[in-house]
């Protein structure tokens, strides 16, 4: 299957994009601080994804791994994905009760472009962890997850 590289010039079909992202996730494209992949390998709609963010060093998130669920709707990549944390986290822009990431708080989601990808979103969230306003927020004990 031909995966078109230039996203700007051609509107790439959703599945193609997602497959490409799947491949990138498996190949570890990027700096190794975020990881993503299909939640269920049999998911033919490529909708439900899992992400992992490694807490950046020198922040309170250091040494922790945050698991996320990313849902790429049918209009992806024209529409941004839904992102929610599975691992409990105290971060501005993430609902305390259920880990849902507020689209308005993350610039990659708020100003979504179809050239963005799951990786971009995860990396943006990681960058948010390094922000001054976030890097020292007290965190819940490690290993807790949102139950709803």
């Amino acid at each position: 299957m031909a995966l078109v590289a230039c996203h700007r010039c051609v509107k790439v079909p959703r599945n193609f994009r997602l497959l490409e992202e799947l491949e990138e996730g498996q190949k570890g494209v990027g700096d190794g601080t975020v990881s993503w992949g299909l939640e269920d390998d049999e998911d033919m709609t490529l909708t439900r994804w899992r992400g992992m963010i490694i807490g950046p060093p020198r922040t309170i998130y250091e040494n922790r791994m945050y698991s996320l669920k990313v849902e790429c709707g049918p209009r992806y990549p024209e529409a941004p994905p839904f992102v929610r944390f599975v691992t409990k986290i105290n971060l501005n822009g993430v609902h305390n009760s259920n880990g849902v990431v507020d689209t308005r708080a993350v610039s990659a989601l708020a100003k979504w472009q179809n050239s963005y990808s799951i990786r971009v979103v995860l990396q943006e969230l990681r960058r948010l962890m390094m922000c001054k306003e976030n890097m020292k927020l007290p965190q819940p004990p490690e290993g807790q997850i949102y139950t709803n």
């Binding site: 498996q26 570890g28 990881s35 899992r50 992400g51 992992m52 490690e142």
Partner: protein
């Protein structure tokens, strides 16, 4: 030729079996934030087996490894197949540093921080502290070698330290080690454990707080306890300590701010007050430690200039032998420049109190080796190995150490905190050097002039300790060190001075008595010409300021309510 490869029974049966069972080796890339390795493993291995391979390759323990693939954490019981890990794909690896310590310290600290809101809870604080900081698990009164024993990298160093009876040697060795291997120090800093520890403000606070000196200090000076209780500040401090660039930046800012402050009328007094309020209690707290371990102060002194977040210490250094306080103006300049230049020379710390506070809150660093100041110093040292070299190679340091090692008496004398303050006072040391040079010159020029220069001969004249004839240069440079002070506070000091001079001059001591009056004749004249007619007061002021006319005038004006 009906020869089918692979079916020959003599061929390795494993291969046959493998081929039959379709077990193949796959090459998986394992990527950490720092590096990347390719690991060959059987396709149907379990995650646990994979981790075995990884732990060998990355030199990490099994329980430190966390594998992530496609956004999921790989559990030991899973298989690679389960996660769809195939040849050529990349798995992310996170090497957790001592995960038990992390979780342990978190839980411990949450328990302890709730149980120890106040500073005066050493009993409960000390128990979690050793538990929490497992590898560097040392008690509250942490001395450098003890703490170092926690770091695996420096285990050899610590062993050497513990075994050494002579603490001086230890210090030297440590310094030499650090000097020769600045990488080690940066390794320490990079050690995620250290970072982890330091990133945990509660833990840091505990360690600092449990130092008994610190507790006393906090009792006396509530501001300090506020400072410690402010997590923001603590974190900032630790952040600074970890980040040398930030540290230097901060120091420069502080220097600038302070020099601005000085230019404000009355600003100098504010600084002085600030210093005395904070430095003095810290110093006296540190002082109490001297009885225990005088030489630790030596090591701890290294960071005296590097505690900007705690205290401001830019006041002029005192003349320990009597006239306290060299000229504030001139030393202020040098003081700030020295602090800026990464503690060039020895650590400058200053007080304009009669009490020579050569050793300031850096003494505090003794109790808490991992204090941010110390850490930042260590970082600076690691960056700049020259620094350590300078410190050690400074002639006065060297001769000092040698003589100390040889002369246990002198060593006991060194316990005198004022004496130690001399050693840390760079200008004092410089002046001592000048004295030595002067003496040597004199010896060569006029051997008959110094009758009592017999080696080992210490004149027992209390009132006049070794005087500097000061042939070289005008009084101001040497005055800071001028030991022939009639105002010498204690006999002990004088004896120490004599011995030190003896040491410096290679066994040469002097009995030249140059009274302050004679020394300050010129200044006295100037003062009287200006209208300060009280000769006594002038003299006192001059002595106090070591001959600096401006400072003497200030003193005089300050004492006379106008």
């Amino acid at each position: 030729m009906a020869e089918s490869s692979g079916t020959d029974p003599t061929v390795d049966s494993n291969v046959v079996e493998n081929a039959a069972k379709d077990r193949t080796m796959i090459v998986v890339t394992v990527k950490t934030p720092k590096d990347k390795e390719e690991i060959a493993i059987l396709e149907d291995s379990s995650v646990a087996q994979f981790k075995e391979e990884i732990s060998k390759r990355f030199n990490a323990k099994l329980d430190q490894l966390v594998l992530i693939f496609a956004g999921k954490i790989l559990k030991d019981g899973d298989t690679l197949n389960q996660h769809g890990i195939k040849d050529g794909l990349t798995v992310h690896l996170v090497i957790k540093t001592a995960p038990k310590a992390t979780s342990g310290s978190t839980s411990q600290n949450s328990a302890s921080s709730s149980g120890t809101p106040q500073a005066n809870s050493s009993s409960s604080a000390s128990s979690p502290v050793p538990n929490a900081s497992t590898p560097p698990g040392t008690g509250p009164a942490i001395q450098p070698p003890n703490l170092l024993s926690g770091f695996g990298d420096l285990s050899s160093l610590s062993g050497m330290g513990m075994g050494s009876a002579n603490f001086m040697e230890l210090q030297q060795q440590m310094q030499r080690q650090l000097m020769s291997n600045p990488e080690m120090l940066s390794q320490i800093m990079d050690n995620p454990l250290v970072q982890n520890m330091m990133s945990n403000p509660d833990l840091m606070r505990q360690m600092i707080v449990t130092n008994p000196q610190m507790q006393q200090l906090m009792e006396r000076n509530p501001e300090i306890s506020h400072m410690l209780n402010n997590p923001e500040l603590m974190r900032q401090t630790m952040e600074l300590a970890r980040n040398p660039a930030m540290m230097q930046e901060m120091m420069r800012n502080q220097d600038r701010a302070l020099s601005n402050l000085e230019s404000i009328p009355g600003g100098y007094n504010a600084l002085r007050r600030m210093y005395t309020d904070i430095q003095e209690p810290m110093f006296s707290a540190a002082r109490e430690q001297f009885g225990n371990n005088p030489f630790s102060a030596l090591g701890g002194n290294l960071d005296s200039g590097v505690q900007p977040s705690r205290t401001e210490n830019r006041e002029p250094l005192p003349n320990p032998w009597g006239p306290p306080g060299t000229a504030p103006s001139e030393s202020r300049g040098t003081g700030s420049s020295t602090t800026t230049s990464s503690n060039g020379g020895t650590a400058p710390s200053v007080s304009s109190l009669p009490n020579p506070l050569g050793i300031n809150a850096s003494g505090l660093g003794n109790g808490v080796f991992s204090s941010p100041g110390m850490q930042s110093l260590m970082q600076q040292i690691s960056e700049n190995p020259q620094l350590m070299q300078n410190m050690l190679s400074a002639p006065y340091m060297r001769s000092m150490m040698q003589s100390l090692a040889q002369n246990p008496d002198l060593a006991s004398q060194m316990q005198n905190p004022e004496a130690l303050s001399v050693m840390t006072n760079p200008r004092a040391m410089q002046a001592l050097m000048q004295i030595q040079q002067g003496l040597q010159t004199l010896q060569t020029e006029a051997p008959g002039l110094m009758p009592s220069l017999a080696p080992g001969g210490i004149p027992g004249i209390p009132s006049t300790t070794g005087g500097s004839v000061a042939p070289e240069g005008p009084p101001p440079p040497t005055q800071g060190s001028n030991p022939s002070a009639d105002v010498s506070p204690s006999q002990q000091q004088q004896q120490l001075m004599q011995q030190m001079l003896q040491m410096f001059a290679g066994g040469v001591t002097t009995t030249q008595a140059v009274t302050p009056e004679v020394r300050f004749q010129q200044q006295l004249d100037q003062l009287s010409a200006m209208g300060f007619l009280n000769r006594e007061a002038n003299l006192q002021a001059l002595i106090a300021t070591g001959g600096d006319i401006n400072a003497a005038i200030e003193r005089l004006l300050g004492s006379q309510p106008s």
